[in-house]
């Protein structure tokens, strides 16, 4: 299960808890807003990871090029 599938599953779980009266409307709303933030966290983390991989590639390329200088 990837991260976004996990978030979809959590949405179902929260809705079930709300429908069953285990959490009130304000709590349900807060949890759904939290899920939105979790999605943003996932996107922001992917952007940072992309830069980290690029940084590694650039440094490797510079080292390789330096060997010829």
């Amino acid at each position: 299960m990837n991260y976004l599938q996990q978030i979809a599953k959590l949405y179902e779980d929260y809705t079930f808890a709300y429908d069953a009266g285990q959490i009130n409307a304000a709590e349900y709303k807060s949890l759904l807003e939290g899920l939105e933030i979790e999605k943003v966290v996932s996107t922001n983390a992917a952007e940072l990871e992309y830069k980290e991989n690029l940084n590694l590639a650039i440094n490797t390329a510079i080292k390789a090029a330096s060997a010829f200088v």
Partner: protein, 135 residues
């Protein structure tokens, strides 16, 4: 030679801004990593207190404080915009928990557990990438 070709491909297929951003990005910082780890650990351990509303309110406030501390630490490090974004996300998430306790004197145990799980998961996602920043 193969690596030079890869370097040439990277250099020609990406804009200068992306390359500069990646090359000069802020490196790994022990304090930053410690703060995100603290958020994750505190969220995990606080689940045990969810039956006690008073303790849980304090835990929610503590988590918010640590997230703010992390954001304040990260935001003034040059070329650290991505980590600052993650810290800001954690501030928003912990603020939601804190606000729920501020406006409701009878927060449910299940909400407490689910909100802490959200914070813990997000902190873990952030921790994994922060730990991989260049040394």
């Amino acid at each position: 030679m193969k690596k030079l070709i890869v370097a040439a491909i990277i250099a020609t297929s990406l804009s200068g801004c992306v390359l500069l951003d990646a090359y000069f990005m802020a490196g790994y910082d022990t304090n930053e990593y410690a703060l995100v780890n603290k958020i994750k650990t505190k969220a995990e351990l606080s689940v045990e207190d969810c039956k006690d509303v008073k303790k849980s309110r304090q835990n929610a406030e503590d988590l918010y404080f640590i997230a703010i501390e992390m954001k304040n630490f990260a935001e003034n490090i040059p070329r650290n915009v991505d980590t600052t974004k993650l810290a800001t996300n954690l501030v928003e998430l912990t603020k939601q928990g804190k606000e729920q306790y501020a406006k409701d004197s009878n927060v449910s145990e299940i909400f407490c557990k689910l909100k802490l799980q959200q914070i813990s998961r997000s902190a873990e996602v952030a921790q994994k990438v922060i730990g991989k920043k260049p040394r």
